[in-house]
Symmetry: C2
Subunit: 242 residues, 2 copies
């Protein structure tokens, strides 16, 4: 047991367990300990649910890390530090670990924050990242919507932060394809902007792509704007739809 402890952040993709990469799958199967984020309300970790087919619970140790669903860094920072401490201890004993997360680890992922704390606490741990399929790529694939062709530009924004109606309209005017992640709470503003710009028939709404309860529609006129799930996105495309 003299080898360096190793942690690999694995992007699981949007939900369908088969949308993990072969590399990610092999990293999970080679791991001694599997870390998964869990919101504090005690729900099963969505990441852990997705990875279940690839985990052998008789052989592999599972450690869930409580991470609050909040933007308040006063709450988040201590949670990341506590998680980093747990990871450090576990990796001291069980050399090879993976950290599971939805989508791609570097696109609005939680791992970057954890990594920072872990590096400060335990610089000897080797950290690497395996990319994952994003929810918007999966939604586009299910629906056959091109993201970009030829000279087109793609922009990805976190809709819940895009609270300025004018700025949102400019984005939708300036770019061929706009991906609005975490659309839930912003849905009324998004639908309003799409009506204003006559783009309501150029959009796709997707919720829980690849998970139980998946819902995908091109008819944003009839969306229930009071239903605002976190795992939701809107793709708006000015160019050709297939």
């Amino acid at each position: 047991m003299t080898d360096t402890p190793e942690l690999i952040a694995v992007g699981l993709g949007p939900g369908d367990p088969e949308l993990i990469t072969v590399k990610g799958l092999r990293a999970i199967q080679a791991a001694d300990v599997i870390f998964a984020p869990q919101s504090r309300d005690g729900d099963t970790s969505i990441a852990l649910q997705i990875a279940t087919p690839w985990i052998d619970q008789s052989r592999q140790r599972i450690v869930t890390l409580p991470l609050p669903m909040t933007r308040d860094s006063g709450q988040l920072r201590p949670a990341w530090q506590a998680a980093a401490t747990v990871m450090q201890q576990e990796l001291g004993q069980h050399r090879r670990g993976v950290y599971l997360l939805l989508g791609d680890p570097l696109l609005y992922g939680t791992f970057v924050y954890l990594w920072r704390e872990l590096r400060a606490a335990a610089p000897d741990i080797t950290v690497s990242i395996i990319p994952g399929i994003t929810s918007f790529a999966a939604a586009a694939a299910v629906s056959g919507i091109p993201l970009t062709m030829a000279d087109e530009r793609l922009i990805v924004v976190p809709a819940s932060y895009e609270t300025d109606a004018g700025a949102l309209q400019r984005l939708l005017s300036d770019f061929t394809t706009v991906v609005l992640m975490k659309a839930g709470t912003a849905l009324p503003a998004i639908v309003e902007a799409l009506h204003q710009l006559n783009l309501i028939d150029h959009a796709l709404y997707a919720e829980r792509v690849g998970l139980a309860g998946e819902f995908i529609t091109r008819d944003l006129r009839t969306l229930d704007l009071n239903h605002r799930p976190y795992l939701s996105l809107v793709i708006v495309r000015r160019g050709e739809l297939l």
Copy 2:
């Protein structure tokens, strides 16, 4: 043989065969016929090279489709139509086909054009898409560069079309993370803009990610600007680098 012919476009990811999804791998292994694009100069298809570990040539038929590397639709359209005709004939005999391509099928992929021709020629063929890891997600993962955190926006542009120096500077000023795909021919303009905006130390250059000859560097000051490969990209990030 009464079942409907089926074609699945499989995103192979950027180059490393293990960055395919499990779903993509299974689609390839279940296929009777495997289509791969090939530039007309007779080079081996890069897509086919990547997928080689997953193909059983004793059992599966491989058909390469000549597609010229040009923006001239006068040349491209007949090539796509010819490819669609070949696909239609092959799928009439060998029911299950996959079309291989690098990265993600819907992000600057060739499949969308082929699909259009195929649907016109043979609307009875069932077509579906399996998403793939993009080269920029893989480059970010190798280098540990966050693409987006919290309220940040990501923009992806085809650098070879971004020939207006002012427009390029505005993009680099307005967005936290800018991904410049197909950077090769645009490298001199990109490096010039990065110097102008004091962002030269906030960029990553990646060439042939996951393929033989992979080259990734954060030192864009010393890049050979005369070497301009097609499979290259630059990620510029104003925000925190890890």
